[in-house]
């Protein structure tokens, strides 16, 4: 073999091997993006489409709804058909228009109530988790535990009943205040496990300060948990708003599905043959809550790859 001078493939030297390695690295599969994972789940897909419909309805309310929700100038108790697709209420408002305009309220409450509860839960959970074992953690954990065990419904009812303002923002504030605790608990637990990871210690050695470490190293690891928490909180907020309104404790300025139910129940809608009045806001509400829950199934797939292989 040595007598043959022509060596067609010289053994690779170190530089060649490094290049081959770089090329191999170039070809690494990045894996699907988060939206592809979400979209791959049938449930989440249905949820996204459904939620999209609601958002569209809310945005296009002025176009879709034939009348204003608070316009009571029609003949009362008209049965569905003709001018009024779903009939009119006992006060002479168009039910279909009320339903469409009500979507806005529910979505706004869901979005901001969810955001508010998530933000409070995140801040308190992260802080107490990062300072685990110190008095800061003791105080915040105590607060969280108290918030968890306080019976929420009586608390909300009391707060709402004694409040002077009855705006939608006040409702959002109250809902946010009562629903952050569970989220704070789970964020605290995750923070504690992440805080002791080597890459956090490494960031300390790299000279990063605590806020940078939390924002750049730890928070991104929590994204899917935070997102799941948000959708959970939004679902809760929408339900709570409807519940409060149904009890007559909602905002009095605008029409929501909750106030529709409240009015329908108060005016004996069924007895007057206006079952549509009672039925549609309930259906719309369940549809929206279902959409959010379905989306959360998809978010589970992002945080737990093992689930992606099931059904």
């Amino acid at each position: 073999m040595s007598e043959n001078p022509s060596n067609p493939t010289p053994a690779p030297d170190v530089a060649d091997l490094a290049l081959a390695e770089a090329e191999q690295t170039d070809r690494i599969d990045h894996g699907p993006g988060w939206f592809r994972i979400l979209w791959s789940s049938r449930k989440a897909r249905a949820g996204i489409v459904l939620l999209g419909l609601y958002v569209l309805l809310a945005i296009l309310a002025p176009v879709i709804a034939p009348y204003r929700g608070d316009d009571t100038s029609f003949a009362p108790v008209l049965l569905p058909g003709g001018e009024h697709l779903m009939g009119t209420t006992t006060q002479g408002a168009d039910i279909f228009s009320q339903l469409i305009w009500g979507t806005r309220v529910s979505l706004v409450v869901g979005l901001f109530g969810g955001l508010f509860a998530t933000a409070v839960g995140l801040v308190i959970g992260l802080t107490s988790g990062y300072f685990e074992g110190t008095w800061i953690d003791d105080v915040l954990s105590l607060l969280t535990n108290v918030a968890l065990v306080v019976p929420t419904l009586p608390l909300i009812i009391t707060l709402m009943a004694y409040s002077e303002v009855r705006s939608i923002w006040f409702t959002i504030l109250i809902i946010g205040i009562i629903s952050w605790a569970g989220a704070a608990r789970s964020k605290r637990a995750l923070m504690i496990t992440l805080r002791h990871r080597d890459f956090v210690t490494a960031a300390k050695f790299a000279g990063d300060r605590t806020p940078t470490i939390i924002a750049r190293e730890i928070l991104p690891q929590m994204t899917s948990l935070v997102a799941a928490g948000f959708f959970g909180a939004a679902t809760g907020a929408i339900g709570a708003e409807a519940g409060l309104s149904f009890l007559g404790l909602g905002n009095t300025e605008s029409v929501s599905w909750g106030t529709m139910l409240y009015q329908a129940q108060l005016q004996g809608a069924l007895a007057q043959g206006l079952w549509v009045w009672l039925l549609v806001p309930g259906l719309a509400l369940s549809g929206l809550i279902m959409a959010l829950t379905l989306i959360n199934f998809g978010i589970d797939l992002i945080s737990n790859p093992h689930l992606r292989e099931d059904g």
Binding site: R36, D198, G207
Partner: protein
Amino acid sequence: MDRHASAPDDVTPILEVEDLTVRYAPKLHPALDAVDHVSFSIRPGEFVGLIGESGSGKSTLGTAVLRLTERPGSITGGTIRFDGMDITSMSQEELRPYRWRDFSTVFQSSMNALNPVVRVEDQFRDAIELHSSRRGGEVVERIKELFDLVLIDHRFIRAYPHELSGGMKQRVNLALALANDPKFVLLDEPTTGLDVVVQRSILEGVRRLQAEQGFAVLFISHDIGTVMDLSDRILVMYAGRIVEEHDTDDLLREPLHPYTKGLLGSYGDPRQETVRITYVPGRPPDLSQPLQGCPFAPRCPERIDRCLTDAPPLVEMPTTRTEGAVTALRLDAAGTWRPPRAACHVALLQRTEPGTPGLPERTVRFAGPAFEKSVGETTEALRGEVLLDVADVTKVFSSRQGLRRRETLAVDGVSFQLRRGMVTALVGQSGSGKSTLARMITGVDRPTSGSITFHGRQGPVDVGTLGGSGLRGYRSLVQMVFQDPYSSLNPNKTLEYILSRPLRNHRQMGRAELGAAIDELLERVALTPARRYRSRHAFELSGGQRQRVVIARALAAEPELIIADEPISSLDVSIRAEVLDLLQRLVADSDVGILYITHDLLSARMLADDVVVLNQGRVAEHGIAIDVIRDPQDEYTRRLLDAIPNPFADIYKP
């Protein structure tokens, strides 16, 4: 037993795998064959080792053989015959009577395989009563027998799993696997994560039991040295295929596949005059991409043209042992010896057509890059100024249990000095206090008594009293290389971001300088060409590449002291030397001091000038590396030396 009649000269294999393919088809990723047309067989009572880098498909093959493959994986081709019976497509219910009676296993994560709320005795009872007619007292007798086999005191029979130490749990698992006298046991990395000395004693126990009881074993491990020490025959796996099958002794004398040579090259005897360990650069191929030619070709130092185009089949190879004596051996081959097989064009051509143009020389060593250290290069005396002075340091941990306080002495009066431009190795098994010492040196913990003084360029620093901003300043001088590169790099950050943090924070670099500095760091740790790596995420890199990034990050701060805490123990053996080589070059190129923490005296010999052996928090032995290793004074040091797997011990006597 009639089925033997057709082949009277051979024994029915206990396990026969033919053309087995296991395919992973996740929904959102491209499908890949983790096990690709694999065939092998194991005879009753045979001890077979299966080696390969992580990701080579070893464990997938192991689980498939037991029919435990889980979604998204599935067996898509081939057959598995157990004791002559085809189990490839049996239902789980049909398999149940055979499991744990005829074949059993000790898993990789066996530490968690015992039910924590059930007493050990009851777990044995379940396994024994299900598969045998033993009841009551007989079962207890059997458990006692099994505990004797694995050398555990009978009083632990009534214990709960959490009352056992890690090593004991693993031995209990082994005893459990043997409870019903199985014919075949699969050991899948059964001692990974255990202490070296404990590991040694367990594996020696396995081998003794196997010899006594005569069950067959398939032993999967990435710890090639241990596999070599124990096995009769070795299967080498690469990219889902078996690339070599060879009797252990012959394999050590004449490895056929260059990959096998690369794996073997990672071992050496630290006591020898010159220690040379090689490494296989690069990484295994991505199996979801179509492969052309031999999967090992891109990393192979012996490749020829044909390797890049044709995939070599796994064929029988004539070796030195068989050449000239083939007929004699064939006649003798009543099941005791079988010719080696390998999938390599070069090895085959070298043996069949040695005149082929372009064929490299026949070699038993891996012809790739190596890290070599001879006695001459090793320090004979310590020079350089003292960088770190650890003086009589003691650390006591106290925990409260009810009203009583319990105190644990983790580090007890340890003193040593570390000099600029030198490597001091801190050697000991787990629990010896070496990590506690590292935590104190980095300022994470404070010593209970004694002092740690760092003599940096900006004057001496008393590490034990640092807090807040002082600690931040200190950390720009002292950096850390972590054990596990999978957990010490945030998987979602780009290398650019990871490396920019210390540059910005410790060296106050602005955006303009960053780019060049990052490239320089990447080049320094051999991640070249740097521009192709800058925007990579940590999760895209292999273990070795990741560890190089971790080293680059430690270098970014231009530290005076680097603490490397077991930097190679979580890497594949085939790439360990590369990281050692890198660390060695760092010391040579700059006057940084390295504190190298390890349990492995071979790597300490390769890297360190100075060795401190720790045992139960005390210094057992301290001296120049080569003296300590070649002439250990302490019994404990000798025990650590004996625990180093050395497959070549019987072959190449010094």
